[in-house]
């Protein structure tokens, strides 16, 4: 059976959920071979093995942390040469997409980004993508070289599928270009204790109607009652009420959770582009004509300052 390279997104050995979803998709096309780089790479092996990785290729060197993107491209290219895979799958993070794209140029392959589903096909893997603010669904494939495909979070279930997960050291010689862009300093984001926006099963977002940074605590309280991530519309972010890292929409994050709750968000195209593929959509807005109500499974026309706290209280009392 053909092997499929899976690029591992991890933080000091803790594998992030989208990588486990990639293993589920990789098993549809072949045998997953994981590539884990940087500090803690070997520590990823146990988790990856539980989810279907037959092999885990690892490499660590200071270059991975000290220079932008290119050292990781060098390593993934080395893995590609060692394995000759049927496809290369990479999580659709900002960095993941850049690594995948540069690899594709080097190995003379086409690239598909932001797939939301993947299946085996007669002419190679077929990727499903959302286009034009998720108003269209396309099916595409790579027609030259080894398919390089990046996949969005929440595109597949995480499945247990125990495999050998044998750790093998990957030998990487860095290219002349590897040290071109120096990472002079790195400031980790402060953890909010809430789930990662793009990975969360439930997202609670606030928009213009929240009317002030201080009022976002209402949104956060609802999110915390559900164990959800907090999102914000562009209007709320541009007004300085909530950080840009939480922006949902065309120029922010694109999310696809099981449940999306929009509070005080009208539902302009820029916002819909980032949340339209959510499974269940709920909205609270005082304007009955707001376009967000065209998308909802359940909508409440009303004042969010009344409705949201009541909802939060009700959830807390039901959960006991």
């Amino acid at each position: 059976m053909a092997e499929v390279l899976v690029y591992v997104d991890h933080v000091d050995g803790a594998v992030r959920k989208p990588t486990l979803e990639l293993l589920t998709l990789a098993r549809r096309i072949g045998e997953p071979v994981a590539v884990a780089l940087g500090a803690g790479a070997e520590a990823t092996a146990a988790t990856l093995a539980e989810h279907g990785a037959v092999k885990v290729l690892t490499a660590d060197a200071p270059e991975f942390a000290d220079y932008l993107v290119v050292p990781k491209v060098d390593a993934l290219q080395a893995a590609h040469e060692a394995v000759s895979p049927a496809a290369v799958l990479v999580p659709s993070s900002a960095e993941g997409k850049e690594i995948a794209a540069r690899l594709a140029v080097r190995i003379g392959s086409g690239i598909i980004t932001d797939a939301v589903d993947l299946e085996a096909g007669d002419e190679g893997p077929v990727a499903t993508q959302s286009a034009f603010a998720a108003s269209f669904t396309t099916k595409s494939r790579v027609s030259k070289g080894t398919p390089v495909i990046t996949v969005k979070p929440n595109s597949a279930p995480v499945e247990a599928a125990p495999a050998a997960g044998a750790v093998e050291a990957l030998s990487v010689s860095f290219s002349e270009k590897a040290t071109g862009t120096k990472v002079v300093s790195r400031t980790p984001r402060e953890s909010t204790g809430r789930p990662e926006l793009t990975e969360a099963a439930i997202v609670v977002s606030g928009g213009r109607g929240v009317n002030g940074a201080e009022n976002f605590s209402i949104i956060e309280d609802l999110a915390d009652s559900l164990g959800a991530a907090v999102g914000a519309s562009r209007a709320a972010v541009d007004a300085g009420w909530y950080p840009h890292t939480n922006q949902v929409g065309q120029t922010g994050k694109s999310v696809s959770p099981q449940l999306y709750i929009a509070s005080g968000i009208s539902g302009a195209i820029q916002h819909r582009a980032g949340m339209q593929t959510s499974k269940t959509i709920v909205a609270i807005n005082k304007d009955a004509e707001a376009p967000i109500f065209d998308l909802v499974d359940y909508g409440v026309v009303g004042d969010l300052f009344q409705v949201v706290p009541q909802l939060t209280e009700e959830i807390k009392s039901r959960k006991g």
């Binding site: 794209a101 439930i202 840009h244 359940y298 909508g299 004042d303 909802l311 959960k319």
Partner: protein, 261 residues
């Protein structure tokens, strides 16, 4: 010596229009108005600011696209760019990111550059990988997704705000930069700028001028293939209630019925 800045821009269908695919599954450009991609305005703005800081700089705005793509170049020129290059050729129709980046790389090299600046992504394809590919093809450092950028003494510096960390980056010129929508509001063209833009030079190039063969670009020369495109079915109409004092509780009841509580 003058700092040579090339800004790569894209002419895209208006995101607020009714965008769809043509019969050959390329982006339909006939039925929706086109414009300079909003995210590229940030790239033009940062180019202008870097040029203002430099002793001597020249900004060339570059696009690959059909005849109408000149509108995007005019907009950038009216904001203050000095000159424009338009690569236009019938054989380009249907080019994917690999084909387009090949053309851009050759055109950037032909123009001559110290700094290439791009937007973070286009508003139609939304891949966000072209700047990285361009850096790979040109063999120069990639300094991408910056919310802050500056150039001094042949070095480009910037802040990249990622999912897990914020990074300060640094590279020597020549380099490829991309900037996000957090980099600073783009200026509106002034009346004077709009008038001046009409007199600024727009060079037209064809594939022959860049030594690119027709079979390296277009639908045939692309390395990906779209097999189908289907309009997403409209979501089934949901339940909408008016809050009469119990809206939060009704919503909780719905969430419970869907097993979210």
């Amino acid at each position: 010596m003058s700092l040579r800045i090339v800004v790569c821009v894209k002419y895209v269908p208006d995101a607020t229009g009714d965008r769809h695919f043509a019969d050959d599954l390329t982006v339909d450009r006939d039925d929706v108005d086109g414009l300079l991609s909003e995210l590229d305005e940030y790239a033009v703005e940062q180019a202008l600011q870097i040029a203002e800081e430099a002793d001597d700089a020249e900004i060339t705005v570059l696009t690959v696209g059909p005849e109408d793509a000149k509108d995007a170049l005019r907009k950038a020129l009216s904001m203050g760019a000095d000159k424009a290059v338009h690569v236009e050729d019938d054989d380009l129709h249907g080019s994917d990111v690999m084909a387009t980046s090949l053309v851009l790389a050759k055109a950037v090299e032909k123009t001559g550059y110290d700094l290439v600046i791009c937007g973070m992504a286009s508003t139609d394809g939304t891949m966000g990988v072209l700047p990285a590919i361009l850096a790979e093809r040109l063999g120069v450092p990639q300094v991408t997704l910056l919310s802050e950028v500056s150039v001094e003494d042949g070095t480009v510096k910037g802040r990249r705000d990622g999912d897990t960390a914020s990074e300060q980056l640094e590279a020597s010129l020549p380099a490829v930069v991309s900037v996000t929508d957090q980099s600073g509001e783009a200026r509106y063209p002034s009346f004077k700028g709009i008038m001046a833009a009409k007199k600024k030079p727009v060079e037209s190039l064809e594939l022959d001028d860049l030594d690119i063969d027709a079979d390296e670009v277009g639908l045939e020369g692309s390395w990906t293939k779209v097999d189908s495109a289907a309009e997403r079915p409209a979501r089934t109409a949901g339940t909408i209630v008016k809050d009469e004092g119990e809206g939060g509780k009704q919503l909780a009841e719905f969430l419970a019925s869907q097993k979210f509580i």
